[in-house]
């Protein structure tokens, strides 16, 4: 698991605990792109730059108080999702269409489906489905979208998702189930 490798960096944790700014900078380098992608997936692209900056600032502020009780990855994902959740609350009256513009949903997808392991017919189907899939994810209620994005796109484990979102593993399991069911029915219903 990709996240796991990064979590083992004990010397980075030690430096962060000591308030080392170079360690913070290293963290920014390594994670800001991933944070940007996560923010777009959770809260849409419109204010993504601002939200990433807000999350980076909160990381900076909390650097000294990071005790290493959770992994660095979990800590970063948690602060980033937290910033997104605040944002989504403030935007709660806005529909998904305002957060995720149709242009964005269709334009930024790189449609080159990796050739690995797919039958040609499935490849074509997947290519056709990518835009619909992104739209279906965008339409999910925020708390279901968060679980699905963290597990199915960011590839965190149930326990990691639970830690990031501050919920129990059983809730991760059921929300993921409902989210997938909704996405599937939207795909089958043509969205």
């Amino acid at each position: 698991m990709a996240l796991e490798e990064r979590l083992k960096d004990h010397s980075l944790v030690q430096k962060l605990k000591a308030g080392d700014e170079d360690a913070y900078a290293q963290l920014c380098t390594e994670y800001s792109g991933k944070m940007y992608r996560l923010v777009c997936r959770l809260a849409g692209p419109e204010d993504a730059d601002d939200l990433v900056q807000e999350a980076l600032m909160q990381l900076y502020k909390s650097m000294g108080s990071f005790k290493g009780a959770c992994s660095i990855g979990t800590w970063i994902y948690r602060i980033t999702t937290n910033v997104c959740q605040d944002y989504l609350r403030k935007k709660s009256r806005r529909s998904w269409r305002h957060l995720f513009s149709l242009d964005w949903l269709s334009s930024e997808t790189n449609k080159e489906v990796p050739s690995l392991d797919f039958e040609p017919s499935e490849r074509a189907e997947i290519r056709d489905d990518l835009d619909k899939l992104r739209m279906a994810i965008a339409k999910l209620p925020p708390e279901q979208r968060a679980v699905l994005v963290l597990h199915d796109l960011e590839q965190l484990t149930y326990q990691e998702v639970a830690d990031v979102l501050g919920i129990v593993v059983g809730t991760v399991k059921s929300r993921l189930f409902y989210a997938r069911r909704k996405v599937r029915s939207m795909l089958e219903g043509g969205v």
């Binding site: 913070y24 900078a25 290293q26 380098t29 390594e30 800001s32 792109g33 940007y36 992608r37 777009c40 997936r41 601002d50 990433v52 900056q53 980076l56 600032m57 909160q58 900076y60 502020k61 909390s62 650097m63 000294g64 108080s65 948690r78 602060i79 937290n82 959740q85 605040d86 930024e108 997808t109 790189n110 449609k111 080159e112 489906v113 990796p114 499935e122 997947i126 990518l130 899939l133 992104r134 708390e143 968060a146 597990h151 199915d152 796109l153 960011e154 590839q155 149930y158 979102l165 501050g166 919920i167 809730t171 399991k173 059921s174 993921l176 189930f177 997938r180 069911r181 996405v183 795909l187």
Partner: protein, 132 residues
Amino acid sequence: MRCPSHENLSAYVDRELTLSEMQKIETHLQDCLTCRIEVARLEKLIRKFNVLAETDLPIPNMYNPTISRKNYRWAAAAVVVLLVAGSAVFFGLRYNQSSVAEMEEELQYFYNNHKDYVRSQSTAPITLVSWE
């Protein structure tokens, strides 16, 4: 054995059940076409998510560490710039055509000049909320 819930089949596909639950479902699947179909549909959906995860969302250059070896300075400095100089300065720098080196230099200037201010602002505790 009765058919497992679809929620458990979803967790089964993720291999997120206990070993004994996994084994029970595996045994059940050998005899139950309905559940095998459900598992196959879930696996197909998850393959689509995997493709989406791989093909989706190019990360803008400003967040790409391979653009510049010293890019981390940009990231650290950008936080400071936003904090002390407001987003106007930040976006102004982002959208002009200056090279990465020039950008770094300017941001480094801000960073150096406002370090103490940022430190003084850095005591506020972060409140983390739960997505209940």
